[in-house]
């Protein structure tokens, strides 16, 4: 796939919605990230609305039964898929009451199948400690797409909890798939300065996909001051590391994200990055097929 980073992230999410692989939805690449997202939202509506009436009727039955019996029935008879679809049709207070009594691995699997349009009122009513436990389980499973969706449903308090419990690399991978730039900004803002610096430093000295995720996060935050700080932390690294970052940006089609980050760097760091010998490579020159943004001139 030769798509840019944002488009690739959207293709992965579309593939998840359709229950296929990213290669299975490569046909949508020409739409670009924004329209792939629109398509995904329509797909989600179609698939989740299709069987809603039946789930709504089952959800209605739960109102007549005590919570403990509902929990017993759900754990004995419902798969996480079925439970999530029924929970999506229940009043969120009631669904949260049940969720607070269910095992973490059942909830983590249920989160994957929860109707994303109805997740927020439910997740915000579940005990914070339980939400953190579910987040940890999803991180253990490497399900950053579901976590990116959950980020949207997080309150300030949850974001604060997450900032202290989620490992650096996972934070960035969640950021790559975050639905909302605003929520991503809030999540990053919740990190203390030293943690934020450590996240950026460990990412940029890490694996190429983590470096790319860091670039995506820097370019997606919606606060210029925060972006400037993140870019400044990146600029603290040595020339060899920053050169690696430039190569990653080209290899991962994240040149637009890289240029956003470089533009946010304070002087003289920006001049230092722009003077790196790697920038003389053809990949960064205007008109290069690998360059999705026009120029690297200061």
């Amino acid at each position: 796939m030769g798509a840019d980073l944002a488009t690739r992230a959207e293709l992965v999410k579309l593939a998840r919605a359709l229950g296929t692989t990213p290669d299975g939805v490569a046909f949508a690449e020409t739409l670009g990230a924004g329209d792939i997202r629109r398509l995904r939202e329509r797909v989600v509506s179609t698939l989740y609305d299709e069987h809603r009436a039946a789930f709504r009727r089952v959800a209605a039955i739960t109102r007549t039964l005590p919570t403990s019996l509902n929990v017993r029935i759900a754990l004995r008879a419902f798969s996480p898929l079925l439970a999530a679809r029924i929970a999506s049709e229940m009043p969120p207070e009631r669904a949260a009451e049940l969720a607070n009594r269910m095992p973490v691995d059942f909830l983590a699997e249920g989160c994957v199948h929860l109707d994303p349009r109805r997740a927020e009122p439910l997740i915000t009513r579940i005990d914070r400690a339980r939400v953190i436990a579910v987040v940890s389980e999803l991180i253990r499973r490497g399900d950053f797409i579901t976590l990116g969706r959950m980020l949207d449903a997080s309150t300030e308090e949850m974001l604060s909890d997450l900032s202290t419990t989620v490992p650096d690399e996972a934070l960035l991978r969640i950021g790559l798939y975050a639905e909302s730039g605003t929520q991503l900004t809030r999540a990053m803002r919740a990190l203390p300065a030293e943690r934020l610096r450590a996240v950026i430093h460990s990412a940029l000295t890490g694996a190429p996909d983590v470096r790319a995720a860091a670039l995506a996060v820097v370019s997606r935050v919606e606060d210029d001051e925060l972006r400037g700080r993140l870019a400044a932390y990146a600029a603290e690294l040595d020339d060899a590391t920053l050169t690696e970052l430039l190569h990653t940006a080209v290899a991962e089609d994240a040149v637009t994200e890289l240029l956003t980050a470089v533009a946010a760097m304070p002087e003289p760091a920006r001049t230092r990055v722009l003077a790196l010998p790697a920038l003389r490579d053809s990949a960064f020159h205007p008109g290069s097929p690998n360059t999705s943004c026009g120029t690297t001139s200061p």
Binding site: T30, L31, V43, R57, V58, I73, R76, L81
Partner: protein, 71 residues
């Protein structure tokens, strides 16, 4: 957009699918197939999960639920 594919996609994706015009006819057909496969897969997974749920449920509750969901 090819009219037969458009007709097939409209009830699933809504009337306003102008943003899909950039897809070629072949790509639209692939989208149509992917969505049809996803719908079938979902129906199958939900049916299997529902059957298992009925099997596990206490008898009196099973009959009530069967009536409500039209089984």
């Amino acid at each position: 957009m090819r009219s037969d594919v458009r007709e097939q996609l409209r009830p699933w994706l809504g009337e306003d699918v102008a943003f899909l015009e950039r897809l070629s006819d072949d790509d639209l057909a692939r989208l149509c197939d992917a969505l049809a496969t996803a719908r079938r897969g979902q129906a199958k997974a939900l049916a299997a999960a529902s059957d298992e749920a009925y099997r596990q449920m206490p008898g009196p509750l099973r009959r009530g639920i069967a009536r409500l969901v039209g089984r």
